[in-house]
Subunit: 403 residues, 2 copies
């Protein structure tokens, strides 16, 4: 029998036992948001591709303006104007200047731009410069931002809107991303009815399928529902095998009774290898993990709150591993609104509401007797009380993972 | 001329000048993730709808077990077994018990469940109870979690996977949500070419359209691209009018030159009311806000980094306002890796990379001379240096808004 593992051991086990699928596809930039980059992106060109002004003003040679002031302006010949979107493919002669708009190209010979407010156009073909320039002043040079060969984004990056903008800037209109992992979702339990049915005596609605599906899709995986399976080992085995054949991973949730849990273990063992039976967290202990080839077979607790926590803490990192996803989850720090007891020997996970009180962020733990809706609906995130902690006092700082 | 406003003034202006659209639609639960709830959700039923056990064990009357122990078990008559998904529509007589699985229904008369490990089935129709029960022990009563009339989720909530699960539990298979706001996106500038074109001399690719589109879609808005418009006031006016007719809001970005900015002001003023011209932030000062009816007309700076910050800080809250969205953005606290100067008189916004060093979260500010790709690509978020701060020392705590 496998022993119960700590959360750290489970995460190490996932790293060790599962490899990225390594399957990629090319998507247009407009569909790349949130996808996992499958290879680093390297610029092929210069950005900007020409020397540009960062101000509206006059491009000139800095040396021609040295020593000028309000009282004694440097008088330069106005050699013309650079238009937006046009090149400036001429050389500026000495003691001359050209008008350039913000973002406009700078002619050869010019080495600075003087802001309009420090100049005066005398209207006779000359311009007075009241403030000396310095070489490089108000200019961006070709390739200052990016040059061929510069790495823009690393493999494994989850693309943001900002990344999309940067990719557009270097002309990448399609990007190589990891294929979405396809995850089969099965709910099991004689007591389950689909959400659109009214439960009869002793029945409850299936919460895990819609919850996990929404979570998986938001994470960038593809969820495939295999429906509700009654508590019958042969049927369950067939569904698990179907799902494992068609998907990259299978999540079975439910089976709160000992019999179903044992059946799930036997099925997973028969399909490949049983890696884990039990995680030292509360709630979420009765979690099973196995593999068939490189395909994870996951048995989640039936209770939706436990299933939700285990999915957040272990299933998403596992699916991220399969997609080669590199992204850390960050926490926000909040102050506990009331004291909270904890069990010894197991990490305890608590959902909470966040609210602001006089500039301070407060975390109100959600308490409920094995509750369901109350623990899920309206929660803003969760925090973890470590294994060796007997509880937290009111006012303690907690680190909240946001939903 | 309107004066430059502080960020707080701008946010107050948005609250004051724009009202939620109040247009809702019903979507299936499977499409509700991330949508904004348009009315509070109230339960219509009890969850659970029957008294349930939270353990595998025996349901009985606690009073029948008082005083029992390992040495002197209480001997109860085994009256049968409750099956998962079946009712327990009978009354338990005194000194009796029934086997119940976790989640199983509890018969009338029983007021506790004793865990299997504290019992022994003698096989002769009796069961020994080694640990006394107490009324309510290991039970969830009908409606403990939710009852008719209880508010589950408030209006304005951005639905999470957990909320989806809770809605499934109470049988809500469709939910009323705010219609996505439709936002017209226009880029202007003679220097702009679409991302799929190679820029000629003096030209750059349009970054703002793909960046803003990705950001808007991720926020739950619908972006409609009106392409790139050259710097021609009549043309720009026509595009703005087209977009304002078909959309709920219009974002014009670009126009780094003074002439274009003035034209944008004139156009917005002629279409309705000019509310704002300039925000005291860096970068992002040359921002324009107007309205035509209840439709925001927004002029963003042309520089993509400035446009991005202004969109995050002001445009998304404005669109959220139109959708009645109530969601706070939280920050993660990190330690600055190097000192950073700041301007007086304007809030300064800085993009940064986050990384972990020995358990501490570090924020490395991204510096670049009016850079573009370097400021966007791979950034994890941004932080704000307040108006009156002259700079931050290395090691200072910053509050990072995540991308």
């Amino acid at each position: 029998m496998l022993e119960v593992k700590t959360p750290e051991e489970v995460l190490r086990l996932i790293e060790k036992k599962f490899k990225p699928l390594g399957q990629t596809e090319s998507v247009p930039l407009s569909a790349a948001m949130g996808r996992v980059l499958s290879e680093p992106i390297t610029a092929q060109e210069y950005v900007p591709d020409f020397d540009r002004s960062t101000v509206d003003g006059y491009a000139c040679r800095a040396a021609d303006t040295f020593g000028c002031s309000d009282a004694i302006p440097a008088i330069l010949n106005l050699a013309g104007e650079v238009l937006m979107g046009q090149g400036a493919d001429f050389a500026l002669s000495r003691d001359s200047c050209v008008y350039v708009p913000t973002g406009g190209a700078i002619p050869k010979g010019a080495d600075c731009a003087v802001m309009l407010e420090y100049t005066e156009d005398y209207g006779d073909g000359t311009v007075g410069i009241m403030k000396p320039g310095a070489p490089g002043m108000n200019l961006i040079f070709r390739g200052d931002d990016v040059f061929p060969g510069k790495e823009i984004l690393p493999a494994g990056r989850v693309l943001t809107a900002q990344d999309i903008g940067a990719l557009a800037a270097i002309g990448r209109i399609s990007v190589p991303v990891a294929r979405r992992v396809k995850v089969g979702v099965i709910s099991t339990g004689d007591e389950l009815v689909p959400p659109n049915k009214t439960p009869g005596p002793g029945q409850v609605r299936d919460v895990n399928s819609p919850l996990l599906t929404a979570m998986l899709e938001a994470f960038g995986a593809e969820a495939v529902s295999y429906g509700i399976v009654v508590d019958d080992e042969a049927l369950l085995r067939r569904k698990m095998q179907d799902a494992a054949r068609d998907c990259d991973a299978v999540i079975l949730s439910g089976g709160s009774s000992v019999g179903v849990k044992d059946a799930a273990c036997r099925i997973i063992e028969s399909m490949g290898e049983l890696l884990l039976h039990g995680i030292a967290i509360k709630p979420g202990k009765p979690t099973i993990l196995g593999k068939a080839g490189n395909k994870p077979l996951i048995g989640l607790p039936g209770h939706p709150v436990a299933a939700c926590f285990v999915a957040q803490l272990f299933v998403l990192p596992l699916l991220g591993r399969l997609m080669g996803r590199k992204r850390e989850e960050y926490t926000v720090t909040a102050e506990l609104t009331e004291s909270l007891g904890a069990n010894h020997g197991r990490e305890q996970i608590n959902a909470c509401h966040l609210r602001r009180e006089g500039g301070k962020l407060m975390a109100a733990p959600i308490r409920s007797k094995s509750g369901l809706i109350t623990q899920l609906a309206g929660a803003d995130g969760y925090f973890i009380i470590s294994r060796d902690c007997e509880g937290l006092p009111k006012g303690a700082q907690v680190h909240v993972y946001l939903y």
